[in-house]
């Protein structure tokens, strides 16, 4: 059973749809016991990083997340809350990944939010099995996780940032695998096989 954590940060339907297409058995939950006993945990999220941390705190899920030993995948803001901190609302985050979340600096040619399909580079580790550097994935975000020792893929939008992070069994993607066509589906499938 895969637990998709529902902490009121955006619509979970596209993540649910993606898992359904892959034939995965999943539930949507905020129940600590269910999350602890799941085989794998997905932490999606769209919105403000500060609000995401507050909602996790209110649901009592921060210690639960920290103690998980099964594979975890944070997506977008779900990745950002697993970093050290975020410039968005000056937020202290959970600190699994050794990365800071910063705001893109707009320039005349650089559009913010970074929205659309951009290429993955320097991909490594298991969740990118079968994915070549140069494949495109879908992004929508204004804040990015910096490069750090946990970086397992990069993308460049004015600045090179962590497209994905991994620390022990914790994974995170700044892009949306559930919206990234066949490439994204493959990445989710690889995660489900961990």
């Amino acid at each position: 059973m895969i637990a998709i954590i529902d902490y009121k940060m955006g619509n979970l339907r596209s993540v649910e749809n993606a898992l359904r297409r892959l034939g995965a058995d999943f539930c949507v939950t905020a129940d600590a016991a269910v999350i602890r006993s799941a085989d794998k945990v997905l932490l999606p999220g769209v919105g403000h990083c500060g609000e995401a941390m507050q909602n996790l705190r209110d649901a009592g899920l921060i210690p639960v997340l920290r103690q998980l030993r099964q594979p975890v995948l944070g997506i977008c803001v779900g990745l950002q809350v697993l970093c050290r901190d975020s410039e968005e609302g000056d937020t202290e985050c959970i600190g699994i990944f050794d990365s800071h979340v910063k705001r893109f600096t707009p320039t005349p040619v650089l559009k913010i939010p970074h929205m659309g399909w951009n290429t993955l580079e320097n991909t490594e580790k298991k969740i990118f099995d079968g994915i070549r550097s140069g494949e495109s994935v879908y992004y929508v975000h204004s804040y990015y996780p910096t490069l750090c020792p946990d970086t397992i893929a990069t993308t460049t939008h004015g600045v090179m940032f962590s497209a994905a992070l991994k620390y022990e069994q914790f994974h995170g993607t700044q892009f949306h695998p559930e919206k990234s066509g066949d490439v994204g589906e493959r990445i989710l499938q690889n995660f489900l096989k961990l």
């Binding site: 955006g10 619509n11 339907r13 596209s14 749809n17 993606a18 359904r20 297409r21 769209v46 919105g47 707009p106 005349p108 559009k111 913010i112 939010p113 970074h114 929205m115 659309g116 399909w117 951009n118 290429t119 495109s136 879908y138 929508v140 460049t156 939008h157 559930e178 919206k179 990234s180 066509g181 066949d182 994204g184 589906e185």
Partner: protein, 261 residues
């Protein structure tokens, strides 16, 4: 590098696509889900579904269609047509839309942009703008013309002007601007490229070009010289003038960064 996006647009009435679409691979070309899946598999970067049903019954059929499309495709989905309240936007979000496109309702009550953006984020709000200009005198620059924003398919002029309205929409929290020139829409003679260039240099959010493409050259022009971030395409795909893979290959050959499967 961030790719320029190619976005097929499907007009839907009572759950069926309305434009004549001819594809041998498709069993039922009127089926909006099959057609969306077909475009997604061909490499569409996003899909736009526009509800042109006038009735309340048509609206609820459209919501159910959005659910089916969201279940079937694995690329971003934008929906529009008749969205006039936060509740409409919420209903479509719940159905699985990644973005909503608003047009007339935002002109009638600009606060709607703020309301949707602050509730669901700017990435969820596309503001569509239809505008037209009076015939130009010799030597007049199209980008300097007075572009009057219109509603109801370009038939009703408003007091808004394109550039100031686009700027206001951005300030209010729009995540993207979808601009259609009613002077060019349906002509297949290309886009008002200099106007797009002025619009893209004015705004910090992405601009989607729409209406006027007759061939890959037109699309290339608006993405390169016009600096648009994406092109919405309908007729040239539905009528089989080009396909997404052909169009993207031609754009790639012109040095434009596109996602090729």
């Amino acid at each position: 590098m961030l790719s320029k996006r190619i976005i097929p647009c499907l007009d839907v009435k009572d759950g069926r696509t309305v434009k004549g679409v001819h594809f041998e691979q498709l069993r039922d070309v009127g089926d909006a889900v099959d057609l969306g899946r077909h475009y997604a598999l061909q490499g569409a970067d996003e899909l736009v579904y526009l509800d042109i049903s006038a009735s309340q019954e048509g609206r609820s059929t459209f919501t159910r269609l959005v659910e089916r499309v969201a279940d079937a495709i694995h690329i971003p989905l934008t929906v529009g047509g008749g969205i006039s309240s936060l509740d409409d936007a919420a209903r479509l979000l719940d159905a699985g839309a990644d973005k909503v496109s608003i047009n007339s309702a935002a002109l009638a009550r600009p606060e709607l942009i703020d309301e949707i953006a602050s509730r669901y984020g700017s990435q969820f709000v596309v503001v569509a703008i239809d505008a037209r200009h009076e015939p130009l005198a010799d030597g007049d620059e199209e980008a300097e013309a007075h572009w009057t924003v219109c509603t109801h398919g370009g038939t009703r002029p408003t007091s808004h002007e394109l550039f100031s309205w686009a700027h206001e929409a951005e300030q209010r929290g729009a995540g993207e601007i979808l601009f259609t020139s009613m002077n060019h829409d349906g002509t297949r003679n290309g886009y008002p490229v200099s106007t797009y260039r002025r619009l893209t240099s004015l705004l910090h959010i992405p601009v989607i070009a729409s209406g006027g493409a007759g061939n890959a050259d037109n699309v290339a022009e608006v993405l390169q010289q016009g600096q648009a971030d994406a092109a919405l395409v309908a007729g040239i795909l539905h009528d089989g003038i080009t396909t997404i893979p052909e169009l993207k290959t031609e754009l790639h050959n012109r040095g434009i960064c596109v996602r090729i499967l």
